[in-house]
Symmetry: C2
């Protein structure tokens, strides 16, 4: 039995427009995508906040997988975080049409006692101070991965650099890696990011796959070719969920486990793109995951 | 002993400015980079044109490798093709400062009799009608790969589409693949390009590696991480040289050979970026190539 994985991040109700259509008020948020992905490999402990408008059906949908919602705080009378995004024709760009932080704006996560010894954790994108406070509630020896974004790199650099000294793995996308380090070449950027503290750095490159530098690296995995791209929202968080979930399943962050996790993360991210919301992730079967992992390994063999 | 490889393309004297420095009047051109790369694996038959200003030292430098220059036409009193390019700070963009076609403008390649039975060939970037005329001078059963560029995709599309029905492998970069097919996703673009005729399509993605679709595919190889990028000029032609040269060495265009060739091409392209002109390619040792191939395979293992 795999060890549990803890995630702290946003839970939201998203409205998404892509060239494939539009979805209104679907389940979203970084912690949701992470949880739906990680639950393919390990039990998940989700910590987040919603308002009293959060549908019971969404809760049930998450609980159809081994996702423990006892860390899900519900603010009575509050409203759940909402995001509305619109993708470009080629889905390589998106604009935020509107965002309402609502209860997420006041979120100060406190881990339930039963969660405080979790050995595998992910600090999803959010204010650096929030990530730092969660880090401090976890054991020193836990494997902790974190994400960040342009906003915090720009506005909270000192706090972010402090956090980076306290985590094991930084997972970020290509433009964030360049912004954090000022380096254009992504291998240079990954190596430079390692100097800030984490033992491993993962750079997500969208259709170009992902790099792992530092412990377990250098390793490059191509993206899994997606037959039908419906909505890329959450793919990055699903990637992180596949990555940390896989490590928890192996119960190891050895160099080999980290490389295998990179493959698992890539495959899991491909499911996230095939539906609006986390539906496809929540319906993926273990046999489908295994099949795509084999196909990905064949793709990368030369 | 590997079978010979024929290349027809430009031979020039380049002036190149990169953040690493400037080189004036160095040996360049698509056929030169291709030949220097392919000669790492197989004897090369180079067909091209120069003026009487072409230095004897450049000729000797090429002949230090198994490159047969008996198809190198010298126009008495003519001037060699010249190109002057300047790269951006991150070397992802470049501008052409000046270009003088000179004798290349009137080049109508005619293969020497001894070259007409070559079974492995590359039609480097050039006017589509010139590429077509070379294709017709080669045996029907030869393995013929070709490159193209934005100019011909825009201006000579009908001729290009005709050529594509007559070749085995199209090798082009990401932006050219998108321009040719109108598809943004590179796997979609590669699959669409296959419908124009070639059995295989290779998409070069610079720092993101390369894809092979069709026969031998799908296969994805990451770029070889370059320790010191000096000048990316010619990397795409060196890639093609490594690719076709490897096939000639194996004497096979089987699916497995095509995948191995993709790895060899990737490694060879890395040498091309480490000096101004083809110097680093012309000095690379077989043991260095083998070592990078092993490192590339380790990089791609997960």
């Amino acid at each position: 039995m795999a060890e549990p994985v803890l995630v702290v991040g946003s839970i939201g109700l998203d409205t998404v427009e892509t060239p494939c259509g539009r979805a209104d008020g679907v389940l979203g948020g970084s912690a949701v995508y992470f949880a739906a992905a990680a639950a393919l490999f390990a039990p998940v402990r989700l910590v987040g906040v919603v308002g009293s408008d959060f549908p019971a059906s969404a809760r049930r949908r998450l609980e159809s997988r081994p996702i423990d919602l006892s860390g899900l705080e519900e603010v009575q009378g509050g409203k759940t975080f909402r995001w509305h995004g619109r993708y470009s024709q080629d889905m390589n760009d998106r604009v935020t049409v509107s965002v309402e932080l609502n209860v997420l704006g006041e979120f100060r996560p406190r881990l339930p006692e039963a969660f405080k010894k979790t050995r595998w954790a992910f600090l999803a994108n959010g204010p650096t101070s929030t990530q730092q406070s969660v880090r401090e509630q976890l054991p020193r020896g836990a494997f902790v991965a974190a994400d960040t974004m342009d906003l915090w790199i720009e506005k909270e650099r000192p706090g972010l650099l402090r956090l980076l000294r306290d985590i094991d793995c930084l997972i970020l996308n290509d433009s964030e890696a360049r912004m954090l380090t000022g380096r254009t070449s992504l291998w240079d950027a990954a190596r430079e990011a390692l100097r800030t503290g984490p033992k491993s750095v993962v750079v997500k490159k969208g259709e170009h796959g992902a790099y792992l530098a530092g412990r377990g690296g250098p390793c490059a995995v191509p993206a899994f070719p997606i037959a039908k791209l419906v909505d890329p929202t959450g793919a990055g968080d699903a990637f992180a969920g596949g990555f940390v979930g896989w490590l928890a399943r192996e119960g190891s962050a050895s160099p080999g486990a980290l490389r295998r996790a990179l493959g698992a993360a890539t495959v899991v991210a491909s499911f996230a793109c095939e539906s609006f919301g986390p539906e496809r992730l929540l319906s993926a079967r273990a046999s489908e995951v295994r099949k795509r992992l084999s196909a990905l390994r064949r793709l990368a063999r030369f």
